[in-house]
């Protein structure tokens, strides 16, 4: 058997690789690109995540425990309590305070996300010097008060030298710090993140105006004979004395937090990269199908010589595996190169979303390279399975007798009921509730429904080809005769188009629905004339606030009629952090700022324990009106009764709104997170904005129109990548159509000769092919758009609701869908005509 396989590989495959090298290069390129995209996404993804995790590990070695408050900050006095409780144990407690900061750029006030985001970390530098293997380049204790240290890479990138004055936006202020030196790098330690500003703890507390507060305590235990179970012992002691004020997390907990926060982001990237590989696999399938048709005669000859079906099939699969290995190696190398660029983009996104990632370089581990190659081989094998089966099933008599032997395909693939069955299963799966996992909700049923629906609708759509009948001219008669009795290749071509168009339409519908809902929400929620926030509030994780003094100063402007401050803090609930908002309820009710999912009674805020929640929190924690929610606070856990649910498309983490007086009592905060301003009649919004901006350069000041525009711009920017994916999907589908038609034409060479013998001119043959392609494209467009509408419904009503807890209104972008359909029809027909012109020039088979 193996000898036969080797003969086939040597005599057929290698010779074809040599003679048809362009085709082989194309095949390799298709597969390698799919692998490259997958590897690049994966490396960039991992690298950015590693940067995110490394953030807390960057200054010292991994600590044994991290202590964080459940709500608000830790107090310095609690640190002393911890020290006392630990007694004589050889443990170092390293308090840390941190905040995101942005550089002060005078002309960048007008747009959101326009500045780099850095992180200011305050640590006890004396303790740090003792722990570090390499001391800071300058005696930190002797440095001036405003000294910061940065990584060498950051200093070089910014062009800073020691003594450089750096202006930072902190809350609503502009503060100046001085560069004291660069952080050292020890060979066995992770390199410091390159957007980190390190400062001595007391000076950072002073700068951030958070005296007596810290965000976390890193606990480092030194194991020794006297305390054999020191690490576990320390954890137990710190947990025991916490009394609900803080929680003690070990290394794995911290990674789990990072993992949990970024899991959705990584899932999306992984799905996108797999999609790229799927696309590569589909094109490989089409190309290998063509290869089998070209080699069919050789296979038939070998079969007459006694080579078995199994040997033929095995030879093709081995060839596909070899192809996969070659393409995999190229793809991994290309992917690694591409990842170097992608990692910066991914890290930037993660920094914006989560406030910290320091990745700049994607490393390639041998295991990852092997996984990339293995995936490429697997894709190639899956793509080659059907063509290999076809090759093995080649009947020598049929091929060698030069019968017109165009292949119709197995009955099972031509049975429309399989497609319909998949659709029915998909509809059933769509009804399943989401899977609860790690505090998150995964719409597994809906995802599975989408995955089954695409091939199901694609296979069922083959039935649409049967409606092509009753043509007048000879060209149309021949073209329609092929559509009326579609082969498996026709059906697969339609299925691929349906999948691509359905995905594209589904995306378009989802974006249109988001757009429609967002515009409605923005119109309702953004009614104030002017909005204020700290200029440092550039990411979702930002903690920058506007001091109550600044708020009061702005309130005195005679052009301002009303001013409402929104207070905010974050607490940890199951599944992650949640915003707790202190709202000015009278202001919100007067201006109807909330879009209600469940409207509360008008006097709800008079009850001391009443709270509003946003829809995503309600969905995530299964809360509704009448439920209770326990919020940790510096004053201990407080239980609230949910009286209303509001829509909030700006926040997927979840938020709880309580009246401001109660908020101030519980959390002791009076600084504003956001401020909304209503102007008196006749006041010019732009003039007031400019006045506030001039008086408070540390603030971002937006007029209503500008903020609405910015919100929509960010929204559209977020979806820009999906538009690119739509384009790729359509191009691949149309390219797949071209390859499928080429295979059909090769398979039908005898028929082409007959047509020419009857009197078909080359342009008639080309036209026949063009009409056939247009027919396939039309069936794909009709079924694809119909499927896309269902898919859009699934994404909006099921996936979004289950995953994010957002109720979106359903919007159909008809114009866009019709334009997409017309474009695919046109491009499909043009490509089919090109294939037809090529087919018309195929030489007549010689029968000497």
């Amino acid at each position: 058997m193996m000898r036969d396989v080797l003969i086939i590989l040597r005599q057929c495959a290698l010779r074809h690789w040599r003679l048809a090298w362009r085709q082989q290069v194309m095949l390799l390129t298709i597969l390698a690109l799919g692998t490259a995209v997958h590897v690049a996404m994966r490396l960039a993804n991992r690298s950015a995540l590693a940067g995110f995790v490394r953030f807390s590990d960057g200054i010292t070695r991994d600590s044994d425990w991290t202590v964080r408050a459940d709500a608000g900050a830790l107090k310095m006095e609690w640190l002393r309590e911890m020290r006392v409780a630990l007694g004589s144990r050889p443990v170092t407690l390293l308090p840390v305070i941190e905040a995101t900061v942005v550089p002060h750029i005078a002309d960048a006030a007008g747009s959101v996300n326009a500045r780099p985001i850095w992180r200011l970390v305050g640590m006890d530098l004396i303790a740090l010097q003792n722990l570090a293997r390499k001391p800071l380049q300058q005696d930190a204790t002797a440095a001036p008060n405003d000294t910061v240290y940065v990584s060498d890479a950051m200093a070089r990138r910014q062009g800073w030298s020691v003594g450089e004055k750096i202006a930072l936006v902190i809350d609503d202020r502009i503060a100046q710090v001085t560069l004291g030196g660069v952080m050292p790098v020890a060979p066995d330690m992770p390199s410091p993140p390159d957007h980190l500003l390190l400062m001595d703890l007391p000076r950072a507390q002073e700068l951030l105006r958070r005296a007596d507060e810290i965000d976390r305590v890193e606990v480092l235990a030194t194991a020794g004979a006297a305390f054999p179970n020191l690490r576990a012992d320390v954890g137990t002691v710190l947990t025991t004395v916490a009394q609900g004020r803080w929680r003690v997390l070990d290394h794995e907990d911290r990674r789990a937090v990072a993992d949990n926060m970024t899991s959705a982001f990584r899932l999306n990237l992984t799905i996108l990269s797999l999609l790229a590989l799927l696309v590569g696999g589909y094109l490989t399938f089409q190309a290998l199908d063509g290869v089998v048709i070209r080699r069919r005669e050789e296979i038939a000859i070998l079969r007459t010589m006694g080579v078995t079906e199994r040997a033929v099939k095995r030879a093709f699969l081995i060839e596909a595996a070899l192809l996969g290995v070659c393409a995999g190696v190229i793809g991994v190398a290309l992917g690694w190169l591409a990842a170097q660029g992608a990692v910066l983009a991914v890290a930037r996104t993660m920094t914006t979303l989560y406030g910290a990632s320091s990745a700049t370089f994607a490393e390639l581990h041998p295991a990852e390279a092997a996984a990339g190659i293995a995936l490429c081989v697997l894709t190639s094998l899956v793509a080659a399975w059907w063509p290999a089966r076809m090759a093995a099933a080649t009947m020598p008599a049929a091929v060698l007798s030069r019968h017109p032997s165009s292949w119709q395909g197995g009955r099972i693939w031509r049975a429309g009921w399989i497609g319909l069955l998949l659709c029915v299963v998909a509809i059933t799966l769509a009804q399943f509730p989401p899977l609860r996992w790690n505090g998150s909700r995964v719409p597994l049923g809906a995802y599975a429904a989408a995955l089954l629906w695409l091939p199901g609708a694609g296979l069922a759509a083959g039935a649409l080809l049967r409606v092509f009948r009753g043509a007048r001219g000879a060209v149309l008669s021949v073209a329609f005769s092929h559509l009326r009795r579609p082969s498996v290749r026709h059906r697969f071509a339609v299925a691929a188009l349906v999948s691509a168009i359905a995905m594209t339409c589904g995306m378009a519908i989802m974006i249109a629905s988001f757009d429609h809902t967002m515009r409605g929400w923005i119109t309702r929620a953004m009614r104030a004339d002017i909005y204020l926030s700290s200029a440092g509030a550039q990411s979702a994780s930002s903690t920058h606030v506007i001091s109550s003094e600044t708020v009061e100063a702005i309130r005195k402007d005679p052009r301002i009629a009303e001013l409402a401050a929104l207070l905010e803090t974050r607490v940890t609930l199951p599944g992650g952090q949640v915003h707790v908002l202190g709202i000015d309820n009278a202001f919100a009710q007067r201006h109807e700022l909330h879009a209600w999912v469940r409207e509360p009674p008008r006097d709800w805020w008079l009850a001391g324990d009443a709270a509003l929640i946003n829809e995503s929190l309600g969905t995530r924690l299964e809360l509704d009106t009448g439920s209770t929610i326990a919020l940790p606070s510096p004053r201990g856990e407080q239980t609230f009764r949910v009286v209303g649910v509001y829509a909030d498309y700006g926040n997927e983490r979840g938020s709880v709104a309580i009246p401001q007086p109660r908020f101030r009592v519980l959390f002791g905060k009076d600084d504003a997170w956001r401020v909304a301003v209503m102007l008196k009649p006749g006041a010019e919004a732009e003039a007031v904005r400019a006045g506030i901006q001039k008086a408070h350069p540390g603030l971002s000041v937006f007029t209503q129109a500008h903020l609405r525009g910015e919100a929509l711009r960010i929204f559209q920017q977020t979806f820009a990548v999906t538009y690119a994916l739509e384009g790729v999907g359509v191009i691949v589908a149309v390219a797949g159509l071209g390859l499928a038609l080429a295979s059909l034409m090769l398979d039908r060479r005898a028929d082409l000769m007959t047509l020419r013998a009857i009197g078909f001119a080359p342009r008639d043959v080309a036209a026949t092919c063009a009409w056939e392609g247009a027919g396939i494209a039309l069936a794909g467009v009709i079924a694809g758009i119909a499927s896309g509408v269902w898919l859009g419904w699934l994404l909006i009503v099921k996936v979004n609701k289950q995953a994010f807890g957002w109720t979106l209104s359903f919007a159909l972008p008809w114009g866009q869908l019709i334009a997409l359909g017309c474009a695919i029809l046109l491009v499909g027909a043009i490509i089919a005509a090109f294939v037809g012109r090529w087919a018309a020039k195929l030489p007549v088979e010689q029968e000497a």
Partner: protein, 219 residues
């Protein structure tokens, strides 16, 4: 005037000569058998006459028009109007019914639907497969397929019918029927028939026999 006039035709594939200065002619209604061993160049000669292949040198005149000088469109027009082809393996279009296969040449000529239907049904009746008009080629027997192929080749009343081993894939009874059918329609329509065959028996149904060896006619 000769329906077909072939003068000094040569054709090479790579360096191998397939046709070496072939000359021949045929009159209207004449049936000529072309006999010869495999590989002697019979099918290549037929392809050159039918305009499916181009000769290296020499001329092929069909009804006085030089096939070799025609553009691809003119060739297609000549095949539609003046040539008919029957093949050993029938080459019916597999996705079209017997009726549609026979109707196709008339559609190419732009003949109206009513006339097409009438002529196709009459011819299918004539060749004895009218009752199989709705059947796909895969549902027909070999003999039926060749009858349909002959009907398709003559439905447009060509001046020259090129038949390449029309009995080669049929049993003796069906083969004899096919030859009889070709002879009858030739007599009815006045079409000249060039019959490529290995069979002496088939050759005997023709007016004249040409023998071919190593790319040259021996007559």
């Amino acid at each position: 005037m000769s329906v077909l006039l072939v003068s000094d035709l040569t054709r090479r594939f790579d360096a191998r000569p397939i046709l070496r200065g072939v000359s021949m002619s045929m009159r209207r209604g004449e049936r000529v058998a072309l006999l010869g061993p495999s590989g002697c160049g019979k099918t290549t000669l037929l392809n050159c006459i039918g305009g499916l292949d181009r000769a290296d040198t020499g001329t092929v005149l069909v009804n006085g028009r030089d096939i070799g000088r025609m553009s691809s469109d003119e060739l297609a027009a000549a095949r539609r109007a003046e040539l008919g082809s029957v093949f050993q393996f029938f080459h019916l279009l597999p996705t079209m019914t017997a009726f549609e296969n026979v109707e196709l040449p008339l559609k190419l000529l732009g003949i109206g639907k009513a006339e097409r239907h009438e002529r196709v049904l009459r011819l299918l009746d004539r060749v004895g497969v009218r009752h199989r008009g709705d059947a796909l080629p895969a549902q027909l027997s070999g003999g039926e397929m060749q009858r349909v192929a002959v009907a398709r080749a003559v439905i447009h009343r060509p001046a020259l019918l090129l038949a390449d081993e029309p009995t080669g894939n049929l049993d003796s009874k069906s083969g004899a029927q096919a030859l009889a059918l070709i002879r009858e329609v030739s007599e009815e329509t006045g079409a000249a028939v060039l019959l490529v065959t290995h069979s002496e028996e088939a050759a005997r149904t023709c007016h004249r026999v040409l023998r071919m060896r190593d790319g040259a006619l021996l007559e």
